[in-house]
């Protein structure tokens, strides 16, 4: 408990730091010495606060989505980007852009979520048809499925000359976040809260179908709830910030090492650590080439794949 409070404090400090990094001079002194209509305050309210909020919301909800996915698939190495979910959401968003260009972002997001749901369901279907003995094969199947869906998406985007926009929304980046362009992410937080409310169900589902049925729970229904949460979060984050790979994988795994897998206990941890991790990566991305920025997906990808490798090697040793 004390550790969790410490983690929350660290995340808050990171959030504060994140508010004051950038090209435009937004310091405490500048804020106090000028009035609310002046530039520093405006930058803070229109750009900095939305950006920091977007990072916190997407970081925590993606991490929770990864956790939920690992529970329902019963595999440590799945998350939206290793199960075809992100790629399906991206295909859905492309379809929405092509067929319903006039729709508000919310509507396009829902179409992306529906595609994500279908893609993830397909992934689970494949897993059921091909019983896999090795835990590592499960994410490999997901990555292959994602590759296929991604290829289809790129081809369509290429034909309709939408490749640049496709690249823009698949590459996670918080630099374009402004007031009015991140609010959908609150849905992600809602999903995280929902995951916390249903935490015990997911933990039970993580024990397998037989245990779940024995305890009187409808396994199918828990799976569907989990899939909806994962798909919504993936779609919301994709259409606002872009995809952030590995996040849903490493954060829950690190938390699992520390406090285990009882979701009632881990959801708060994963929420806080997910936000803190993305905040830290974003700060790094903004400082390394100051005044330029490195997109968040690159930083998270580099740090994430290193941690992912460590986790993989660790599993091999244990097995």
């Amino acid at each position: 408990m004390r550790l969790l409070i410490l983690a929350i404090l660290v995340t808050l400090v990171l959030a504060l730091a994140s508010l004051f990094i950038g090209v435009s001079d937004v310091s405490l002194a500048a804020l106090l010495s000028t009035s609310a209509e002046d530039r520093p305050m405006q930058v803070l309210l229109i750009s900095r606060v939305p950006r920091t909020l977007a990072i916190i919301l997407s970081g925590s909800s993606m991490a929770v989505a990864g956790l939920v996915m690992q529970m329902i698939v019963r595999n440590r190495f799945v998350e939206p980007s290793t199960a075809g979910t992100t790629e399906s959401a991206s295909l859905g968003f492309l379809a929405a852009t092509l067929f319903f260009p006039g729709w508000p972002l919310m509507g396009k997001m829902l179409i992306a979520a529906a595609f994500a749901l279908a893609g993830t369901a397909l992934f689970l279907r494949i897993l059921r048809a091909v019983p896999l003995r090795d835990v590592m094969l499960v994410p490999l199947v997901g990555i292959m499925l994602g590759g296929i869906i991604g290829a289809v998406t790129s081809f369509i985007a290429y034909r309709f000359e939408l490749l640049p926009s496709l690249l823009a929304w698949t590459m996670g980046d918080f630099s374009g976040i402004l007031r009015g362009r991140y609010e959908l992410l609150w849905i992600g937080l809602g999903c995280a809260v929902l995951a916390y409310i249903a935490a015990d169900r997911f933990t039970v589902a993580g024990m397998g179908r037989d245990f779940t049925t024995n305890l009187g729970l409808n396994y199918q229904r828990v799976m569907v709830l989990g899939l909806v949460i994962v798909s919504l979060v993936s779609a919301v984050v994709l259409v606002t910030a872009g995809s952030i790979p590995f996040l849903g994988l490493i954060v829950p795994n690190l938390v699992s090492l520390l406090v285990g897998d009882n979701m009632r206990r881990t959801v708060p941890w994963v929420t806080v650590t997910g936000a803190g991790f993305v905040l830290a990566c974003d700060i790094v991305g903004r400082i390394v080439r100051f005044p330029y920025e490195i997109p968040i997906s690159v930083v998270v990808g580099v740090v994430g794949s290193a941690i992912f490798l460590y986790l993989l090697l660790r599993t091999r040793r244990h097995a």
């Binding site: 529970m71 935490a199 933990t203 039970v204 993580g206 024990m207 037989d210 729970l217 699992s256 009882n262």
Partner: protein, 252 residues
């Protein structure tokens, strides 16, 4: 009382359980024995609604397992299958606590906590209660799973090869624990056993299955006989009475 009537299950062309009609009496320990592939585990899975029935019905104290709401059944009957592969890192105490889920739905009351402590004590897991399952030996893990289903506090407890992974000491203590649960707590225990001598010594009732059918059933002194066992396992089994217990010998 568990009543199975014409219970049938096929996988493709192979009929694994073939019209089993049997009554498992209330109270005591009922063992199901038989050679590999006799359909014991499949039968147990159908009785506990983990698997659907192709034909037939199963009732538990009059409740049809296919139509009774699952959470109602979860307070009457619990099942532990063999080979429980768990990827989730839970502590022994967490796992056992989930046995209370059918009652608490996640919000544990003080009454639930009493049950949890009792189940942990019953299987001598107190010292291991804060350890993670993946840090335990196979036998310790098996005991933790059994503690979980006992914590579920159902009238009927179904266990598929609960002695798997257990050494002699723990196998004996597990059977004693189960017998205590049957006698002191009035539970009905149904176990699939491979060791005919454990079945002989600890059961009140034995059901023999072969080729998806019930071959014989009755009290141990009628089942643990050379004729029945030799035919059942298609291997010569001699039965001797040692200290008043009927022991099968098949080590020739």
């Amino acid at each position: 009382m568990i009543v199975a009537d014409g219970v049938t299950k096929s996988y493709g062309a192979t009929c694994v359980v073939d019209g089993v009609t049997v009554t498992l009496p209330k109270g005591g320990i009922t063992s199901i024995i038989g050679p590999n592939g006799a359909g014991k585990s499949t039968f147990l899975s159908m009785v506990s609604r983990l698997m659907s029935l192709d034909r037939g019905t199963v009732t538990v104290d009059g409740l049809d397992v296919t139509t009774t709401p699952s959470d109602v059944l979860a307070r009457r009957l619990s099942i532990l299958r063999q080979d429980n592969h768990m990827t989730a890192r839970l502590t022994v105490r967490d796992l056992v606590s989930f046995g209370r889920y059918p009652y608490s739905k996640g919000r544990l009351t003080t009454g639930d906590k009493t049950h949890i402590d009792a189940a942990i004590g019953y299987l001598n897991l107190a010292e291991l209660s804060e350890r993670f399952l993946d840090e335990l030996s196979g036998g310790q893990r098996q005991r933790a799973f059994v503690a979980m289903v006992l914590c579920q506090d159902t009238d009927y407890v179904l266990l598929d090869e609960p002695l798997n992974n257990l050494d002699l000491k723990h196998a004996v203590s597990m059977m004693q624990q189960l017998r205590r649960a049957a006698r002191e707590l009035g539970k009905t225990i149904v176990v699939v056993l491979h060791d005919i001598n454990f079945a002989s010594v600890y059961s009140d009732h034995i059901v023999c299955m072969a080729d998806g059918r019930v071959a014989h059933e009755g009290p141990p002194d009628r089942i643990i006989t050379s004729d029945v066992l030799t035919a059942l396992y298609q291997t010569p089994v001699r039965v001797e009475t040692i200290d008043g217990r009927r022991i099968g010998l098949y080590y020739e």
